[in-house]
Symmetry: none
Subunit: 196 residues, 4 copies
Amino acid sequence: MKQTSVADDVLRAALGLFAAQGYANTSVQQVVEQAGVTKGAMYHYFQSKDDLLFAIYDRMLTLQTDHLDAIVARGEPIEVTLRAVCVDVIETSIDFLLEGTVFFRSVHMLSQPRQQEVTRRRRAYHDTFAGLVEKGQAEGLYRTDVPRGVLVAHFFADVHYLPTWFSPEGPETKEQVAAQLTELFLTGIAAGPGRG
Amino acid sequence: MKQTSVADDVLRAALGLFAAQGYANTSVQQVVEQAGVTKGAMYHYFQSKDDLLFAIYDRMLTLQTDHLDAIVARGEPIEVTLRAVCVDVIETSIDFLLEGTVFFRSVHMLSQPRQQEVTRRRRAYHDTFAGLVEKGQAEGLYRTDVPRGVLVAHFFADVHYLPTWFSPEGPETKEQVAAQLTELFLTGIAAGPGRG
Amino acid sequence: MKQTSVADDVLRAALGLFAAQGYANTSVQQVVEQAGVTKGAMYHYFQSKDDLLFAIYDRMLTLQTDHLDAIVARGEPIEVTLRAVCVDVIETSIDFLLEGTVFFRSVHMLSQPRQQEVTRRRRAYHDTFAGLVEKGQAEGLYRTDVPRGVLVAHFFADVHYLPTWFSPEGPETKEQVAAQLTELFLTGIAAGPGRG
Amino acid sequence: MKQTSVADDVLRAALGLFAAQGYANTSVQQVVEQAGVTKGAMYHYFQSKDDLLFAIYDRMLTLQTDHLDAIVARGEPIEVTLRAVCVDVIETSIDFLLEGTVFFRSVHMLSQPRQQEVTRRRRAYHDTFAGLVEKGQAEGLYRTDVPRGVLVAHFFADVHYLPTWFSPEGPETKEQVAAQLTELFLTGIAAGPGRG
DNA sequence: AATGAATGAGGATTCATTCAT
DNA sequence: GATGAATGAATCCTCATTCAT
């Protein structure tokens, strides 16, 4: 009943190996062995090792962008929207913990055009997020004594860092961590006396 | 007693190349060419390519640990100490921006023993930092409704993320960013009504 | 009874690609894509890539041999026959310029048996031509102070070289070049004082 | 006492194999085995398989161009010069029979830049040759009723064709063939009644 | 007749490291 | 201390061909 077993198997194997030993340290041979397919079959579905890396990113980026659009489309008040966005990125980043591990280590190994494509899509996400913060500042919700770029970086830092420390076997659940980090971030950026 | 030894030239070249194109994408040949030395000369000072990577980390880790010890040794009140520590790690991380770029991307490429050595030293830093937070919580300075591990991760996330976004050519200076991120972090973790 | 069969499309595509980039540099995949058919369809009509090459030669060799036989069969005087033969090979070689390009570069890529088959047929043509020269020499038309093999080679050299330099877009027409090269050749081999 | 045994051995092996089985049908593995060196050693002296091909051409083109310049520099009468040039190209082409075999079959396998370099140098030779013919025509030595391009092609055809038919074991010596082909060519292009 | 996924052997190239000089 | 030629294992990728459908 599987649609395309080969491509899926290869991608799953690649994800596991790239996360465990790094992209550069993983040979195509290892990937196909782990996936139980032949090299030829793999190259029937993917044009290069590079493609595997990109496909891994693609799934994650697409899903997160879709979520972001959906949340913004609900048209709720800024503070509700921003909180929902924060919680969602953190939760999906935990869902894609392996992808994240691979992502942040190995984007620079992508071919130049692909790297630009990835950067473009990440920037789009980033800009939408920054737009929400800007609107919130205009409404007096968030502080303006710190440059917006720093506020935004302060949030994505948490997302970026997740694969480094979070473990599903750890004491906190995905939902708890999402709520906690979001709380820390929003408290930090809240407007208040002497914060513009 | 030479100002510019072969080893220094090689390390500088390696740092630049590793940061620009990645450790795995940089050949020893490229490093020695950039450094203006021969392969034989390099292998006289370094046992392996691995050694170059480790040496890069080593300088940064040693310096940051020394700073941490010095600040703690001053024996100032917790809130003063923690703030100083935060500012210092951020500032030195900016001083070592290239090192950081290489570090976070390529630790996993080190040989197993070396990786453990690096992890051990980073954990030591991390534990000292967590100890400061714990003391502050005991004094009622920092919130306790969020697990300490999450508070600490929330800070190191900022440090970790710096090489990704900060640019010396950007609008903010190193000192400003250090102050701003520290402020966001400390505001986020501050104790308050309903925060334990 | 179809005008444009799969086989024809494939051969046309193969001819163009082989001429443009070489036989070895052209993949079967490229051929079928260019022809607008699938690999399976191609392998239904041709047993191997080798077959494509041979089919290209085959058309040209068959046609030239048929022409030769027809001209000889007319039973005209030697000098008329030889001139007609020369003009015809040159003209048909220009008609089959792409075939010639491929031919002279890639015969050695054919399977051994096929290579022999091609050689056999070329030699047959060559021998008939040499026979005409021999008869002409017996009649005192052509010089005998140069070995007959050299005289014959001197002619086929011109034919062989056509794909290298002749262009339909060039200043001379096919008919002109055929007449001119024939003239140069026949003048060169003509009997005369001190030429046996 | 050998200067660089490795490079020479490799080149010699490559020449033999390329001539016998074709460039595309010869693997780098075969070349190094035949040369008795390791693959790594070969790649220390040549950047690519392509390089081997180019080096083979290079030797031949350089030598022939040098000869041409030397002969022209003697400043003898046109008819003496042209005859000497013809004889020389034919003789050196026989000396480099294997190189020629490889050359004419495989130029199109070179990388684009290298192909242009080869073409440039061949054209230079060709142009000098055409210049000699032009001068001879001006002096009334050579016919003008046939376009100069065709006259020149008629000569290079012979050179081009040599590797296809000439054999050192054949009945004629290099010197004989050179004299005979030159004679056929010069007779063919000589001025005369009704030839402009 | 036709499809196109899958095979599997082979190919060119890279590169960290060694070692005789 | 320093050289750079040589090693040899590993890597990514290509491709003609087959075969179940």
